[in-house]
């Protein structure tokens, strides 16, 4: 699973619903599959991390309660923001990866003793390196951005936790350090970082960096309620 798959609940689920016994967070996830949003987006909306959503989704698939919802080429292009290749004469639609190896197991966070850090040297803001964004960055007003949701979303795009974390690193290489300093963010934990980003400028910078590096817009689910 890569996080881009779209699932819907099945007729079998409808028949069995009253007899199914699940924990409340699992119900929240199960009821969030709508046949329209990707697994990554559904997980965010249900407040479940991508790492937690994967085994649950497999369990629901195994029980026959959900099934993958195929989408049309137009829907796919709309979701990815890619240009309509039929308009340029291409005859083969882009491949959609449906199944990839499972992400690596995530080790629960354990406090580490960190040696004393070296005093930082002043850092110049990174130069603007911009392939044109596929869609406009954040334009509407949101609540705070949940850093763990951003990290989980980016990681889910790769389908492999370790490589996804490198993609997250690439995204944050593009964030102007002064914006992070202003928000007093000295580091990002790549698992369960509970930080909230309230600065609109930093939210926009992160959304734009995701757009440029991962070629995807950030889903609304990364924002907490205003």
């Amino acid at each position: 699973m890569t996080g881009t798959e779209i699932y819907k609940r099945t007729a079998a689920y409808e028949q069995e619903a009253r007899t199914i016994r699940l924990h409340a967070p699992q119900w929240k996830l199960l009821l969030a599959y709508d046949g329209q949003r990707s697994l990554a987006e559904v997980a965010l909306s249900a407040d479940v991390s991508f790492a937690e959503a994967l085994p649950l989704t497999e369990k629901f698939l195994g029980s026959g309660w959900i099934e993958e919802q195929p989408i049309t080429l137009d829907q796919y292009l709309k979701r990815t923001g890619a240009p309509d290749i039929s308009a340029i004469g291409a005859s083969i639609p882009p491949a959609v990866v449906l199944h990839e190896p499972k992400p690596d197991a995530v080790v629960p966070p354990v406090p580490t003793s960190t040696p004393p850090p070296l005093a930082p040297k002043p850092v110049a803001a990174p130069a603007s390196i911009t392939p044109p964004p596929i869609s406009a960055p954040v334009t509407k007003s949101h609540g705070p951005m949940r850093l763990n949701a951003v990290v989980d979303y980016i990681t889910s795009l790769v389908g492999n936790t370790a490589l996804g974390q490198i993609l997250v690193y690439r995204v944050f290489l593009r964030i102007p350090p002064e914006l992070l300093q202003a928000e007093e963010i000295a580091s990002v934990h790549l698992v369960n970082d509970t930080s909230l980003i309230r600065s609109e400028a930093l939210q926009k910078a992160i959304a734009q960096a995701v757009n440029e590096v991962a070629r995807r817009p950030l889903p609304d689910g990364v924002y907490a309620a205003a």
Binding site: P115, K121, A127, Y169, I175, P177, V188
Partner: protein, 154 residues
């Protein structure tokens, strides 16, 4: 052209493969962090600068006990000294250089590993962000650290 995530992760894989070979797959990989304001240095560090397809640096930094245990696992006996610490770190850094050079060829130039204790004599310029991968073996810590220039994301 920037390296693919898989290529960047290869640096970590090479390091882990070497350490796991010595420790019998006992290295525990902790959750990584991205640091924006400081670099982490432990007792001994092996630093490699990168130029070409990737610009920046990678290093492994480890406590003396971590290196002592590695030394004991490899040699089973023998006196452990500051020189031994440097030798162990030098071997790790050399293995990284050897394997990475083999994979990337002339597209990526790697410096000779620089081994130092505590903090570097010459200051290292802090890139916009560094990727820190903590490693644990028998309660002793090491950190794999990677700092790429922002141009790397172009």
């Amino acid at each position: 052209m920037p390296l693919h995530e898989r290529d960047i992760h290869y640096f970590i894989e090479v390091t882990l493969a070497y350490l796991n070979k010595i420790t019998g797959n006992e290295i525990v990989v902790r959750d990584p962090t991205i640091e924006f304001q400081s670099l982490v240095f432990s007792a001994y560090t092996g630093l490699i600068h990168l130029k070409g397809d990737a610009e920046g640096f990678v290093y492994l930094t480890a406590s003396q006990q971590f290196l002592h245990q590695l030394h004991a696992a490899r040699h089973n006996r023998g006196r452990f000294s500051e020189e031994s610490s440097r030798d162990v770190m030098s071997d790790i850094a050399g293995t990284i250089v050897h394997n990475v050079s083999k994979r990337f060829g002339t597209g990526l130039t790697l410096s000779e590993p620089r081994i130092f204790s505590t903090v570097p004599d010459d200051p290292i310029e802090m890139p916009p962000a560094v990727f820190v991968q903590p490693l644990l073996w028998r309660k002793e810590h090491a950190y794999f650290v990677m700092g790429l220039s922002s141009a790397e994301t172009a």
